[in-house]
Amino acid sequence: MQVDPQVSARIMRRSQAIDGLFRTFCAICTWAGIVLLFVLIGKIVYEGLPGLNMDFINNFPSRRPGRAGLKAAIWGSVWLMGTVTVFAVPVGVCAAIYLEEYGKRGRLSNFLETNISNLAGVPSIVYGILGLAIFVRTMHMGVSVLAGGLTLALLVLPVIIVSSREALRAVPPGYRSASYALGATKWQTTWKIVLPSAMPGVLTGVILSLSRAMGETAPLILVGAASYIASTPGSPMDQYTALPIQIYDWASRPQAEFKDLAASGIIVLLFVLFLMNALAIYSRQRFLSKLKG
C-alpha cells in the first residue's frame, strides 16, 4: 500500500497539534485549581483583614457588628478539641493497634475494616443526627461541650484509625522480631518498641483529624451549638459555640457588616488550621527521617 508522504506528514502534524492542545488543556485545569485557591484566600483576606484586631479576638458576640468578637467561639472550639482528643485519640489508636498488630487475619478484621471505610464515607450531618439522638436525648447530656465533642470524636475516629494503622505498618518488622527475641511479650513489644517508633506518624494523623473536626459545622448545629452565647464554657456540661458556628451565623445574616465579620472569623479559623497542618507536616518529616535513619 502506498502512503502519500504529504498526507502522512499532515496527519502527523495534526496529531502533534492536538497533542499540544490536550497537554495545555490539562495544565490549564491544574493551574486553574491553584489560582482558585488564591482567589478564595485573597477574597477572604480582602474582606476580613480590616476587621481583624485584638478586640475582635477578645469580645463576645454582639448584635452590633462593631463590637462583636470571637472570644466565646475560640474557647468553645478549644473545649471541643480537648474533648475530641480525650475520647477519640486513645480509642482510635487502640483500635488501630488491634487491627494492625493483633487481629491481622480473618473474617472479623476484614469486616471491621470494611465497616471503618464505610463509616468514613458517611456524611457528617448524619453523625450530627446520631449525636442528637444518642448523646443529647437518650443520654441526657443536653446541649453541652461533652455531647458536641463526643459527636465530633465519632466523626473523626475512622480517620484516626486509618492514619494510625499506616504509621504502625511503616515500622519495620525487624523491630518486632528483635523485641520478641529478647523475650518481650506482644504488648511489651507494641507498647515499648512499635508505638514509640510510630508515634510521630500517629501524631500526624491525629493533628490532621483534629483539624478536620475543627472545621466541622453541620454536626454541631444538629447537637445544638448556640450561635449567640456570651460566656466561655467552664465545664464539659456547659453550653458552647464554636468558630465555624459563629462564622455560619454571621455569614447567613443579610447585613454586609456581618459578612465582613464572617470573613475575619474565617481568617482566624484558616490560620489555626494552617498552624495545625504545619505541625502535622513537621511531624511527618521527622517520622520519615527517623525511619530512614
Binding site: 491544574t30 477574597k43 487502640c94 456524611p123 444518642i134 453541620a218 459578612k259
Partner: protein, 305 residues
C-alpha cells in the same frame, strides 16, 4: 523452688494482663461497629415514628414538601430533586476538570511540578465547607448575577459550582492514583505503535484505569450528596421541583439544618422528618460508597507482570 514459683506467678500475671489488654484493644476496634449500628438504629427507629403518621408511599412519591406549615405536605421529591441538581452541577464542574488534573499529574507533570501542585490541592481539600459557603454567597453569586441578571440571591448554580470546587481535589487525587497504577509497559506499547501522548493517555491509560476512575467519580459525587454548609448558605431554603439552576432550592441536608436550628418540639411529626430525610440521604450515600468499593474490587485490572 521459691524463686521459681514467684517467676511463674509473675509470668501468669503477665499473661492475664496481656489477655485483658487484647480484649480492651478489641473493644476499641469494635466501637466502630457500634457506631454503624447506632446510626442504623437511630435512623430506622426514629423514622418509624414518622412513618406512623405519613405513609411511605406519600413520602417517597409526593411532589410537595411543606412539613413546617399548614396544610402540611410530606413529599420528599423536591428535596431529592434539589440535592440532585447540586450534585449534577458539581459533577459537571469537578469530574472533567478533576480527571484532567489527574491526567496532568500522572502523565505530564515533572516531579518538581508535582511537588508544587500537590500541596496546594491538599490545602484546597482541607478548607472547611463553611468557608466554601461564604465564598459561594459573596463571590460566585455576585458574578453570576452580573452575568445572568435573572439569578436569585440564593441559587443552585452558585452552590453547585462551589461544591464542585470542593470535591475537585478528591477527584484529582483519586484518579491520579488510578492512572499511576497503570504499568508503563502499556504506555510504551502505545508509543511503539506511533501514538502521540494524548492518544496514549486517552485511548490506553484512561481506559485501563477506568475502574479506579469511576469509583473516584462515585465517591466524589457521594460526598456532594452529603455536603451541607455550602448549600445551606448559598442554595436557599425553598423546597421545589425545578429545572432552573438560577432559582432558590433546598437540599436534604439544608432542610435538616433548618429543622434543627428552629425550635421544633421533640416528638412531633415535624421533628421526626429530620430522621426520615436523613435516612434517605444515608441510604443514597451508603449505596454509592458500596458501589464504588465494589467497582474498584470487582473490576480492578490487575497488572502484575
Amino acid at each position: 523452688m521459691n524463686a521459681d514459683s514467684s517467676i511463674n506467678a509473675a509470668a501468669s500475671k503477665r499473661l492475664i494482663l496481656e489477655w485483658i489488654i487484647e480484649r480492651w484493644l478489641f473493644l476499641c476496634a469494635l466501637l466502630s461497629v457500634f457506631t454503624t449500628l447506632g446510626i442504623l438504629y437511630v435512623l430506622f427507629g426514629q423514622s418509624l415514628n414518622f412513618f406512623r403518621e405519613v405513609r411511605p408511599i406519600e413520602f417517597l412519591t409526593g411532589t410537595r414538601w411543606a412539613p413546617l406549615l399548614q396544610p402540611r405536605f410530606f413529599g420528599v421529591l423536591p428535596l431529592v430533586g434539589g440535592t440532585l441538581m447540586i450534585v449534577i452541577i458539581a459533577g459537571v464542574v469537578a469530574l472533567p476538570i478533576g480527571l484532567s488534573i489527574g491526567i496532568y499529574l500522572s502523565e505530564y507533570a515533572s516531579p518538581l511540578q508535582k511537588k508544587i501542585i500537590k500541596p496546594f490541592l491538599e490545602i484546597l481539600a482541607g478548607i472547611p465547607t463553611i468557608v466554601y459557603g461564604y465564598f459561594a454567597l459573596t463571590f460566585v453569586t455576585p458574578i453570576l448575577q452580573h452575568l445572568i441578571p435573572a439569578t436569585e440571591i440564593f441559587n443552585a448554580l452558585s452552590a453547585g459550582i462551589v461544591v464542585g470546587i470542593m470535591i475537585l481535589p478528591m477527584v484529582a487525587s483519586l484518579s491520579e492514583d488510578a492512572l499511576r497504577s497503570v504499568p508503563s509497559s502499556l504506555r510504551q506499547g502505545g508509543y511503539a505503535l506511533g501514538a502521540t501522548s494524548w492518544q496514549v493517555s486517552l485511548s490506553i491509560v484512561v481506559p485501563a484505569a477506568i475502574s479506579g476512575i469511576s469509583s473516584a467519580f462515585i465517591l466524589a459525587l457521594s460526598r456532594a450528596f452529603g455536603e451541607t454548609m455550602a448549600v445551606t448558605i448559598a442554595a436557599g431554603s425553598t423546597p421545589k421541583l425545578t429545572m432552573n439552576p438560577l432559582e432558590s432550592i433546598q437540599t436534604m441536608t439544608a432542610f435538616i439544618v433548618q429543622v434543627s436550628k428552629g425550635d421544633t418540639p421533640v416528638g412531633t411529626v415535624e421533628y421526626y422528618t429530620l430522621f426520615a430525610v436523613a435516612l434517605v440521604l444515608f441510604a443514597i450515600t451508603f449505596s454509592m460508597n458500596i458501589i464504588a468499593n465494589h467497582i474498584q474490587r470487582r473490576y480492578r485490572e490487575v497488572y502484575d507482570h
